[in-house]
């Protein structure tokens, strides 16, 4: 999960103008400015490396994360996924597509007034497990998977 304390510091008073000035002076490229975008995790080529960058420790397999996704996706370019975490104290929900070249697809911070739910649409390159990792307020991690098969379809219509 993104380190929430870093995010809070960035959004502090003055941080906005400092960044803007640095960008204007050409010292920062736009992607640098997004310090709260976990480059290490997004560039990881394996699930375990991504989880390391996300500082996920010993995620426990659980049945309390419901992943709604097709068993077989009609088109791997747009696979709709809905995740509902029924684990008390859910802080954030991370999604990884295990067989994608860069498995980490993103994470969703629901700790500030959202329900532990997210719907998203992802690209899945080949039949793969969709792995979800939930972080809870007590510093624990939980995980579940759903397999999504991707086919070569027909002539589109």
């Amino acid at each position: 999960m993104t380190d929430l304390s870093r995010r809070a510091a960035l959004k502090g008073a003055g941080a906005g103008t400092l960044l803007a000035a640095a960008m204007a002076a050409g010292l920062l490229r736009p992607s640098d400015a997004l310090a709260d975008w976990n480059k290490g995790a997004f560039e990881a080529k394996t699930v375990s490396d991504a989880l390391k960058s996300l500082k996920v420790v010993s995620p426990a397999e659980t049945k309390d994360i419901a992943i709604k996704a097709p068993d077989i996706a009609e088109n791997g370019a747009v696979v709709p996924i809905e995740i509902q975490s029924n684990i008390p104290g859910t802080k954030s929900i991370a999604v990884l597509i295990e067989k994608n070249p860069f498995p980490y697809a993103g994470s969703f911070d629901v700790s500030q007034g959202a329900m532990p739910f997210v719907a998203l649409r992802v690209k899945i390159g080949e039949s793969s497990n969709v792995r979800v990792v939930v972080a809870t307020a007590d510093g624990r991690f939980y995980t579940a998977v759903k397999e999504v098969k991707v086919t070569i379809g027909g002539c589109g219509g």
């Binding site: 975008w37 994470s107 959202a114 739910f117 997210v118």
Partner: protein, 105 residues
């Protein structure tokens, strides 16, 4: 500037069930155009949603999110008349903010 987002929010009690459709190519940097040139990486990286100015939902995402992304999330403690604002920022530093006022469920 990118096309506007389309935001739909349905109030169920004090929970706003939000669906947002964003106009963005979400290029992976792997695709070649008709001329055979690689289309560079161009994708939304962060999304934030505010309710009456307070952050309620945030996300960091990759180019593995589908083109013209759709996200769904549910905001607690919402009521008719509240202002929901959603912002995305992409890897080129472009950003887009759209807002809507919640209507009675």
């Amino acid at each position: 500037m990118a096309d506007p987002m389309r935001i739909r929010a349905r109030l169920e009690g004090d929970v706003a069930d939000v669906r947002v459709l964003m106009a963005h190519p979400m290029e992976t940097g792997q695709r070649k155009d008709a001329a055979g040139n690689v289309v560079p990486l161009h994708f939304i990286q962060t999304i934030t949603a505010h309710l009456n100015g307070k952050p309620v939902f945030q996300a960091e995402v990759s180019q593995a999110i589908s083109r013209n992304p759709v996200f769904g999330f549910k905001v607690k403690g919402a009521k008719a008349g509240d202002k929901l604002t959603i912002t995305w920022i992409d890897n080129k530093g472009d950003k887009r903010t759209d807002e809507m006022t919640l209507a009675a469920g």
